[in-house]
């Protein structure tokens, strides 16, 4: 039985690996040359959301937990990094680290709370906790209320490269996002990632194997929060702004849409989804069309028609003849 499954899956797996490597190389080459063709700040935005969506997917796609509060980590990371760079005058790396660490901390706390309840309650609790962060961001003096934290200095990478140069900033963000994606890829393909998938499939069985699902979920949640904070911190420094937009429930919803649209539980899905959503918003921003309405419409269409997401549907289409 075991060997039979192995022998049928190996050609597909190796095919997938080859296409995967080709795809990644192509994307890497494209991203390296992209600033020549596209406005770098727009690319930075896409990159930050790609990492955010990929980090979110770690919880939704691999652990099967629907968090409705990831904006708290993204926006929280952004605020702390911006504050660290502007008020504490921390160097670039430490500011980013501070944002990431803060997101990891609240991620740990929120995760520990929300994991006590399952399914639908998990979603509602994360949403409510994130809303609490939003209200705090509105009220606390250091966040600057409606204005946010503006004119955040970008600083120097490793004390030498001046990041006020947009191209340097772009490659720095590209490197950061690549590291983030690599961490996610490693996590998903490690024994830890396999246990997560097993929990999503059948939590009872995992428990009966003597493992503690809640611990795995909490680690995944915290890691996801940290990487979301990392993405938010990068965005805040690159855009020199941390604002309320990044902590609203709309933002939590948007990252769900990115993941859903691209295909949850796949590595490439969130990357595709984030690029489409950010691109779409960029296009809509000048069109005068109601953005929120269209984002909502995308949601409805996605849920009703392609629940596996664009990449997931494509994958299913490619694999169908073999099964």
């Amino acid at each position: 039985m075991g060997s039979a499954t192995l022998s049928t899956s190996t050609p597909i797996a190796s095919l997938q690996r080859t296409t995967g490597i080709l795809l990644i190389s192509a994307v890497a080459a494209l991203m390296l040359c992209a600033p020549l063709l596209v406005y770098p700040l727009f690319l930075i935005k896409i990159l930050c959301f790609v990492l955010f969506a990929a980090a979110f997917n770690l919880v939704l796609g691999y652990a099967g937990l629907l968090s409705f509060g990831h904006a708290a980590f993204f926006g929280g990371g952004a605020y702390i990094a911006a504050h660290a760079a502007k008020v504490w005058h921390l160097p670039f790396e430490l500011a980013i680290l501070a944002g990431t660490a803060f997101a990891a901390m609240i991620g740990l706390a929120f995760g520990a709370l929300a994991i006590r309840r399952h399914g639908i309650y998990f979603a509602m609790i994360t949403l409510a906790l994130a809303q609490m962060v939003y209200f705090l961001a509105v009220q606390m003096p250091f966040t600057g209320g409606e204005d946010g934290i503006q004119a955040v200095p970008r600083g120097y990478l490793l004390g030498t490269v001046d990041l006020s140069n947009i191209t340097a900033m772009y490659y720095t963000v590209l490197g950061g996002v690549a590291i983030g994606l690599l961490i996610i890829w490693r996590a998903v393909n490690s024994p830890f990632g396999h246990v997560l998938s097993a929990i999503r499939e059948n939590e009872v069985r995992v428990t009966s194997l003597g493992l503690k699902p809640d611990q795995y979920k909490l680690i995944a949640f915290t890691l996801s929060a940290a990487l979301s904070g990392f993405a938010g911190a990068l965005k805040a420094i690159a855009f020199q702004l941390a604002s309320l937009v990044d902590v609203t429930w709309h933002m939590s919803g948007e990252v769900i849409l990115m993941t859903l649209l691209g295909g949850m539980g796949t590595l490439i899905g969130p990357i595709v989804g984030a690029s489409i959503v950010v691109g779409l918003e960029h296009f809509l921003a000048t069109s005068g069309l109601p953005i929120t309405f269209i984002i909502g419409l995308f949601f409805v269409v996605c849920v009703m028609m392609f629940r596996r997401g664009l990449f997931g549907e494509l994958k299913a289409l490619l694999e169908r003849p073999k099964s």
């Binding site: 709370l113 309650y121 609490m132 859903l260 929120t292």
Partner: protein
Amino acid sequence: MTEIFGVPVAVLLGQLLLGLINGSFYALLSLGLAIIFGMLNVINFAHGAFYMLGGFAAWFLLSRLGLGYWGTLLAAPIMVGALGVLVERLLLKRLYRMDHLYSLLLTFGIALMVEGLFRHIFGSAGMPYPVPPSLTGGINLGFIFLPLYRGWVIVISLVICILTWLAIERTKLGAYLRAATENPALVQAFGINVPLLLTLTYAFCVGLAGFAGALAAPLYQVSPGMGSSIIIVVFAVVVIGGMGSIGGAIVTALGLGIIEGLTKTFYPAASSIAVFVVMVLVILIRPSGLFNREA
């Protein structure tokens, strides 16, 4: 004795009254959410959007069609309920057999669409909505001056919540609903049209949200953001109370409204997060919620 902990009694009572009013709206909304969840297994994120639509329907009927307050209070929930029928029949129905998360995401998308559309048309500002002439003024209760409209909101919300509770616990139709939450296939096998029952339940609960919106219009003005700001608090209410008990949902909602009012009196800065703090405490102490039957 006119002060408690340095706060004048009249101010305290005034805030408690405001808290009770907020609690009444939480009750109307969380009641509907709990019933929809019990019957359809759906977390209706669009509940806030329907609340907002109720407000706008009332505003439209009053300002454009000249319908009186009482007429709008009746017509707005019916319009919202009718929209609920469409949403359930065309969209939600197809997701019943799938993971709950999809219906949550669907209703989230609907909420975004509705809010986005209204923001696009009306902007973010509120539409003023007058208090009906028959309910202007107030009565002096001796210890507090009670504006008539506020009193009316509390009374009618409570009456509707209690009637709904009685209808579910004490009537034949309520027995069908309770049984259908347990074993819909068997209820269907007894000749009861369960799909129709589900549609009507959704329409009724969403209509309740619309009613709450129309009721809230003279108090808070009508604005596109009114739904999303209340729905998240109501979610917290539902997490605190647990969705297993309808009576529990009502009591929790009123209690949290009052806690919010008290916070506003003694520590105003924390009032917007008071409900969430209570939620955190409840999750820590009694993870399944205060009134939940199942863990």
